[in-house]
């Protein structure tokens, strides 16, 4: 089980050594921290040498007998002669490893729902390495009950607060306006996740902002991971192996963000035969191809999606939907030897459109490009897993307010990662990683000034202990250190997680707690008031100022009352400091400055889940309160000693920002009968805050006393804002329904899906433009039908 977790660490690694030349004092400054990492690595190396001399190892890979794909999440149980047992789940590449074994006879069992049990008896000698290649054959009687899969507890993180591992089969529960499910749609059903609606691609997690979410795809950082139509993420669901979603309280392997982590691991291409899929629906068309380059060893998987809706909406739906988006994905994977593998991934996304749906409004465009390679090495005799990875990410964004005024921003970054996992035996391990990154930022906020450019580099180190103290208690202390090449302050972030299972692994109840400090040195500056403006400018935190930071405290309780019935309750508190929040002028889209605010987020997530063969139901409720406090100074002219001076008067302003959705309810039901499956989702969200306006007026420029401007000039029309975020929008609610039928024929599976988005045509507000008194609603009732053909 620990190896699967180790793999996830490897997948998420995205920091790196920097290769750039830096000034000597900076080197000294950074070395003060880096020597710790060097020492740890050396210790790990010596320790592994010691382990190599004493213990045996059993390792292997599990394949699906149906398509020869590696299988993640297979339960592998090893029983010694004295009855001691140790278990784990296979990782993303289907691998498992039991190290530090004494000589003797062992029974190994590999099981997965829907597959026949594999059993093997192994005689293991002193210092031996036993390598296995296990193939699980599908159990025909169990096929078709896909939903049962979720009952498997495949992750050692299962039960931890604020964590959920999402699998591709989970995504299919959410009705979508098309044939293919998507991670974006699923995330919006998770308690504590709030979206701006069905366009714009902004996701707020437990009081955090979209720029405080870390989104990784195979370890590559994706800066704007959702498409302009909010149903879709940057990656199609059928490429996802699993996604680790942390709504907070994440460990030290992740850094650089304050709020949440969405760590997506993609699957490898089929190494046995050519397979693929084609789908088309009103919103999106897609194609996927998997090619075994060298059977059993090397594969390639590629995918392309392209929007259709902007072309067909005027004729089919009778309205303009000017959204163009799509993505391309390519992944190469090779088993170099039995103990090493290499993968290379490329991802590209593009989005363009008028978020409001009105062709006369400003156009937003953004593109993500990311590519990288990862080499994983599992030494045959050692209890250490090592990985080296290099990633590069690029992101460009534009927001054309007018022909003359265009905001632009881009980020380029390269990451190098070295990661070691030291297996302590049982279900304990210590992870350590060193990351280095270079960043290049360019942005122009459209004020006709020159582009603002900055380049920084970052070095970081983490160590993360995961200790199974006894069958009931698991502790995970960790710490992360990050340093920067410019004057942005270095940060040290301790974190802690604990899981208590009163009856051990078989316990039906889990109690967990997570605490941690988080820092975000690379900040995303966005317009927090206008949801139709998806523009973000990324920049390093200002020099010599305190970086944005957060403290998370999360407590959770999970109770599996029946094998098919689960209750979950989580409470959380986040303390935010130095968070940047925009302050606007009374002119349209005129950003005055960015204030640093403090925030307090409190919330409670409750959910109940019923998961029976052919039936799934979920009900989740979130109660949340986000409060920002802004300290600012006004300058009042005063007279004293024959001088006019400006007296600084401190003021404090407290408000609930626009993403403070106080109540949110998600209900999902999925029923499957034979080849038919019906999914229903209903969402409710209480109104989000917005700033009312007192009204409009004309302002005149301050002029010389002799001027007659007051008498003659018309002035510029501006708005007078009322108390910030003092009123709330109407509540949001929507019903989505989908029905699908699956046809199987030899190697081909055809799925036809009919769906209705916003089934009772609720006019949910998306945005209100105070300058034009114009209300823009979210998508109306949209019926759709799609077809998906897959060659297995």
């Amino acid at each position: 089980m620990y190896e699967q977790r180790a793999k996830r660490y490897l997948n998420s690694a995205h920091r790196a050594y920097t290769i750039r030349l830096i000034r000597v004092p900076q080197i000294i400054h950074m070395m003060q921290y880096r020597w710790c990492g060097v020492v740890v690595c050396l210790l790990l190396g010596f320790a592994s040498f010691d382990a190599r001399a004493q213990f045996a190892t059993i390792e292997g890979t599990v394949h699906d007998g149906d398509n020869n794909q590696t299988m993640q999440g297979v339960n592998v149980l090893l029983t010694a002669e004295d009855g001691d047992r140790v278990g784990m789940a296979s990782d993303a590449s289907g691998s498992f490893r039991f190290g530090r074994l004494l000589p003797g006879q062992y029974v190994l069992m590999a099981s997965f729902v829907g597959y026949t049990l594999h059993t093997d008896t192994l005689d293991v000698g002193f210092g031996a390495l036993v390598q296995l290649d296990i193939t699980l054959m599908p159990d025909q009687e169990a096929l078709g009950e896909v939903v049962v899969e979720s009952e498997q507890q495949t992750s050692s993180m299962e039960g931890f607060a604020a964590f959920e591992q999402v699998r591709a089969s989970d995504l299919q529960r959410v009705p979508m306006p098309g044939i293919t499910p998507d991670l974006a749609g699923y995330l919006q059903t998770m308690p504590g996740f709030v979206s701006t609606g069905d366009r714009g691609g902004q996701l707020f997690v437990r009081g955090g902002t979209p720029t405080q979410n870390l989104v990784l795809i195979d370890g590559m950082m994706v800066y704007q991971p959702f498409h302009i139509v909010g149903f879709y993420s940057a990656l199609p669901a059928d490429l996802i192996n699993y996604a680790d979603v942390y709504a907070g309280g994440f460990g030290a392997r992740y850094g650089g963000r304050l709020s949440s982590v969405i760590d997506v691991s993609t699957r490898n291409g089929n190494k046995d035969r050519v397979v693929g899929a084609v789908s088309i629906a009103p919103f999106l068309g897609s194609v996927r191809v998997e090619i075994p380059i060298e059977p059993g060893k090397v594969s390639l998987i590629g995918s392309a999606r392209e929007s259709i809706i902007e072309r067909i909406a005027p004729d089919v739906l009778g309205q303009q939907m000017p959204y163009r988006f799509g993505d391309r994905f390519l992944k190469f994977h090779a088993f170099i030897t039995q103990t090493s593998s290499f993968s290379a991934t490329y991802l590209e996304t593009f989005d363009e459109g008028n978020i409001t749906g009105d062709p006369d409004t400003p156009i937003s465009t953004w593109t993500n490009r990311a590519f990288g390679g990862r080499y994983t090495y599992l030494p045959a005799e050692a209890s250490v897993i090592a990985e080296l990875a290099v990633y590069a990410s690029q992101w460009d964004s534009e927001y054309a307010i007018s022909e003359l005024q265009q905001r632009r921003a881009s980020v380029d970054n390269v990451n190098l990662t070295m990661h070691f996992i030291y297996l302590l035996g049982g279900d304990s391990q210590v992870d350590a990683g060193i990351f280095g990154s270079t960043y290049g930022f360019v942005y122009n906020l459209g004020d006709r000034r020159r582009d603002t450019e900055s380049n920084i580099m970052e070095g970081s180190f983490f160590i993360d202990g995961q200790f199974q103290i006894n069958p009931t208690l698991r502790l995970e202390p960790s710490v992360r250190l990050q340093t920067f090449s410019n004057a942005v302050n270095a940060t040290l972030a301790p974190r802690f997680r604990a899981l208590y299972r009163p009856q051990g692994p078989s316990s039906t109840q889990h109690f967990s707690v997570a605490w941690g400090l988080y820092h975000q040195q690379i900040i995303g500056l966005s317009n927090a008031q206008d949801v139709t403006d998806a523009f973000i400018a990324w920049a390093p935190s200002p020099e010599n100022s305190d970086v944005p930071k957060a403290m998370h405290l999360i407590g959770g309780w999970k109770w599996r009352a029946q094998p098919w019935l689960e209750f979950e309750l989580e409470g959380y508190y986040k303390d935010l400091d130095n968070v940047y929040f925009p302050r606007f002028d009374d002119l349209r889209n005129e950003l005055i400055t960015l204030d640093q605010v403090e925030g307090r987020v409190r919330g409670l997530d409750v959910s109940v889940e019923v998961n029976r063969p052919g039936f799934f139901a979920f009900l989740g409720y979130s109660l949340s309160r986000v409060k920002y406090t802004r300290d600012f100074v006004i300058q009042e002219p005063r007279l004293a000693n024959n001088q006019v001076f400006l007296q600084s008067l401190p003021r404090t302003e407290t408000f609930n920002p626009a993403h403070d959705r106080r109540h949110q309810l998600n209900a999902m039901v999925q029923v499957q009968r034979g080849p038919y499956r019906m999914s229903v989702r209903w969402q409710f969200g209480s109104g989000q805050p917005f700033t009312q306006i007192n009204g409009y007026y004309e302002t005149l420029p301050p002029s010389e006393p002799g001027s007659r401007a007051f008498h003659e000039q018309g002035g510029r029309t501006v708005i007078s804002r009322s108390q910030p975020f003092g009123q709330r929008l109407p509540p949001y609610h929507r019903l989505d329904v989908s029905m699908q039928r699956v046809f199987r024929m030899d190697r081909f599976t055809t799925t036809i899906q009919a769906s209705v988005i916003n089934a009772y045509d609720r006019a949910n507000i998306f945005n209100y433009d105070v300058f034009t008194n114009e209300r823009i609603n979210q998508l109306p009732l949209i019926p759709s039908i799609g077809i998906h053909v897959e060659a297995l």
């Binding site: 002219p637 006019v644 009312q692 409009y696 007026y697 006393p705 018309g714 007078s720 509540p731």
Partner: protein, 299 residues
Amino acid sequence: MRPAIQRLMKGAGYGVFVAGLTLSLAACDNTIEPFPEEPDAFFSIHGVLNTNADTQFVRVTPIRQTFVLDAANPVGITVTSTATSSGERVVWQDSLITLEDGSPGHLFFAIMDVEGGVTYRLDVTREDGKTTTAETTIPNIPSPLVNQPIVVDTVIVDDTEEEVVEQQIILQGLNETPQRIAMNYRVAKSMLAPEEEIDIQYDPDNSTFGKLPVVVELTRDRRTIASRLGLAPNEKTIIFKGLELEIELWSVEWAVPTSGVNIQNGVGFFGAIGHFFPTWTLSSDVIRTVGYIPDKADD
């Protein structure tokens, strides 16, 4: 009842429930209130009280709920000013003007003099009693302390010895730093020529702790005046008719004109300007020493 019928009725019951729930949800309140029921700002006002004018003006624009300005005549607005020290209240008159861009504007005016050192409160009130209030204090009238002119130097100009005369004026009781200081001279080229006013700027930045010493360079100014009259700088036939010091003071609101901190329940700018003209006389001897010819009236 047969099970099939029971199931049908049960299903129908669920259907009715779901349909009712759907209808009730679809019908629930979905309106947005962009404007607060109790706004905290009612008018924008832009105006300046000026001690140098006998009519005061202030532009008043209601803060409205439509982006397009369509209210040509804001009926029912009352504008009053009150001198806070004396309680004297003046009701201002409305005048509809056409602005440069062709849009209508409401310029309220009051025929009144404003006094230095006095605080005036302006109340702009709607029919429903909602009021925007602004307050400004006219700069204090400085009191001049006039010293005797003195000869500070003797110079040779065109082979003729000439005495350089200066006179120090100390302005007392200043609250604000003057924005403008000038000497205004009344002179004529000859006895029969018309009187002309010539002003010469002085540096206003020498004030300290409520006092401003102004050194009036009478001889230098006479040369400047001769030049402006088209005469030779050393021409000594100019008739001197009088002089005064001009001081312009701005109220504190000008320090941050966009702050609007002196306006309650409204926005804009409301300030004041104080123009003061302390005057004194020069003796005939001093006038001649400076290089003028005294006016007959002074002889």
